[in-house]
């Protein structure tokens, strides 16, 4: 298990070593390619992305100041919001305009900024719910436990394995509402894995998580890549971004203003401007 881990990280970093840090640059093996994605709310253009590609098997961070359009971009890609114009592909297949549940079935699963644990379901049921192709999910077949009991046992085993990995196994029979904020983030991530996704989209996975749990969450995100998944995440915590991401995309005012490896982006003048320079004197205004 350990040898391939470093392997995946090296592979991801090697892939990025060959390309230059220019906004919209083509990647060697893109899983997502988006073109001219635009979303307007009245007069406000929330997202206006000309071209962006996400490298397969890497951890890509999407950063930017508040209101940069990161979450809106997430909502668009996953089908939770509708674009004014633009299209994007997943594995070469066009998925723009696809409803959210079909996007998820194609292998792109997201989490939410405000965690969506299903409160009055047990932790284990939260997990089992997410499994794909359940026979008992049909009304008629649901009436005959004999049809789905065996599959349910397999799903339960898979869920328990994941819960053990995410250290939630002791809580499996508790209601999800009884978990702490950080544990809910863990549950949401573990639940997403029950779908067997190819790409996991994490919207602010660290928000409201205490420092001790943060370390464990970081480890889990790295594990996702090392298990062969692609990770795209929105985050404000720069230390975390530097620590785990292979590539960083910076958004400001709906556009992609910079791309690059974590170190090169942190030193980029456009990024410093976007985060601090151009707006630092307006922060009181924005915070209101």
């Amino acid at each position: 298990m350990h040898a391939p881990k470093s392997n995946f990280k090296e592979q991801a970093q090697a892939a990025f070593a060959s390309i230059s840090a220019v906004p919209g640059i083509a990647k060697p093996d893109p899983i997502i390619i988006a073109n001219n994605v635009r979303r307007q709310f009245g007069g406000l253009t929330a997202v206006n992305v000309e071209h962006v590609e996400i490298q397969r098997g890497s951890i890509t961070a999407l950063i930017g100041p508040n209101g940069a359009g990161k979450t809106t971009f997430f909502n668009l890609l996953t089908g939770f919001d509708t674009v004014n114009e633009g299209n994007w592909t997943l594995n070469g297949e066009q998925i723009s305009g696809t409803p959210p549940h079909k996007v998820a079935r194609k292998g792109m699963v997201r989490t939410f900024q405000l965690t969506k644990a299903l409160f009055r379901l047990s932790v284990l049921d939260n997990m089992r719910l997410a499994a794909r192709h359940q026979r008992g999910e049909s009304f008629i077949r649901g009436l005959f436990p004999a049809i789905w009991k065996k599959q349910e046992a397999e799903i339960t085993a898979q869920a328990e394995e994941l819960l053990t990995r995410f250290k939630l196994i002791d809580k499996k029979n508790d209601f999800a509402a009884a978990l702490s904020g950080g544990q809910r983030k863990l549950l949401e991530m573990a639940r997403a894995l029950m779908v067997n996704p190819e790409i996991v989209m994490l919207d602010e996975p660290m928000a409201g998580v205490n420092p001790a749990l943060k370390q464990s969450l970081l480890g889990h995100i790295k594990d996702l890549r090392d298990d062969g998944m692609t990770v795209l995440f929105v985050e404000h915590d720069m230390d975390m971004v530097r620590d785990i991401s292979d590539w960083v995309i910076v958004m400001a005012e709906g556009k992609i203003v910079a791309e690059g490896t974590p170190d090169s982006v942190m030193g980029n003048q456009a990024v410093i401007d976007a985060y601090l320079g151009a707006h630092h004197d307006l922060s009181l205004e924005e915070g209101r």
């Binding site: 959210p100 998820a104 999910e137």
Partner: protein
Amino acid sequence: MDFLFITQQSLSAAIGVNTIIFALAAIGLNMHFGYTGLLNFGQAGFLAVGAYSVAVSVVSFNVSLWVALLIGIVNSIILALLLGIPTLRLRADYLAIVTIAAGEIIRQVARSATFNKTLGGSDGITGKFGKEFFDLNPFTAGLDLPFLRFTPNDLWVVVVGWALVAVILFLMWLLVNSPWGRLLKAIREDEDAVRSLGKNVYLYKIQSLIAGGVIGSIGGFVYALSRQSVQPDNYGTALTFFAYTVLILGGAARVLAPIAGAVIFWFLLVFVEQMLRQAVSAGYIPEWLIGVNQVGQIRFMLVGLGLMMLMIFRPQGIFGDRKELALDARA
């Protein structure tokens, strides 16, 4: 005061025809509201469609009763689709608005003069449309025990009715404990989370609306057959809200809750009425305070007061789990 009579009346009501009707209406609502979180305020409309389908088919179109029952089920499925398809993609409150209006539309159409010939206007339809059902009645004598009393026909309705309730509850129990039921409960908690996991939320909400609506229309069958008549004003909003009362009294999202709720509701209603009536006629309550004619209204006030106390001291209902209710306050 004749306590034996009061007990007999109250107990007969507690397991009687009305209890069965409201239990069925509430079981349907439990599927909608308790498990899926759908706010259906037009359950009376589903009962009306069930009742009228049977009466109209048999009386106006001379269809066999058994075919008429099938027509009733098909009609209630159509109603669920009509209500659900446009509204279930929208936020939950829209279904509430549409269903409460649809329930009233159905009642107003039924009582309108335009369709007097087939639907009977405000008088409804009375006739022997339940003949085929009562021909099967094996009870030649009714039940006349000191504490329980039914006519032969009522006894037959009660026996068949409770058997139906038992079958429906068993199916419901199977369903809510299946992956299908888990999906409904998940939709109740957060639709978007369920969508993000690749589930077609819309499809399941429609299925839930149909299932609960059909159960409600079976309540309508019992309503129509037991009285051998249908009257439009029996299917007003009050029916829907009493069904909600029954459900919440028992505890939403518990399979057996509607039964407990309906039994207690009807026992209390009749018990309070009989107590008051006897107390007034025996002179324990002075005429200037409550007259004999006012008892019917006063009992609803007292039962309403009792329900308020219930909500204050046991908001989770009789079968509900207080812990679960507390979780609803989103942390």
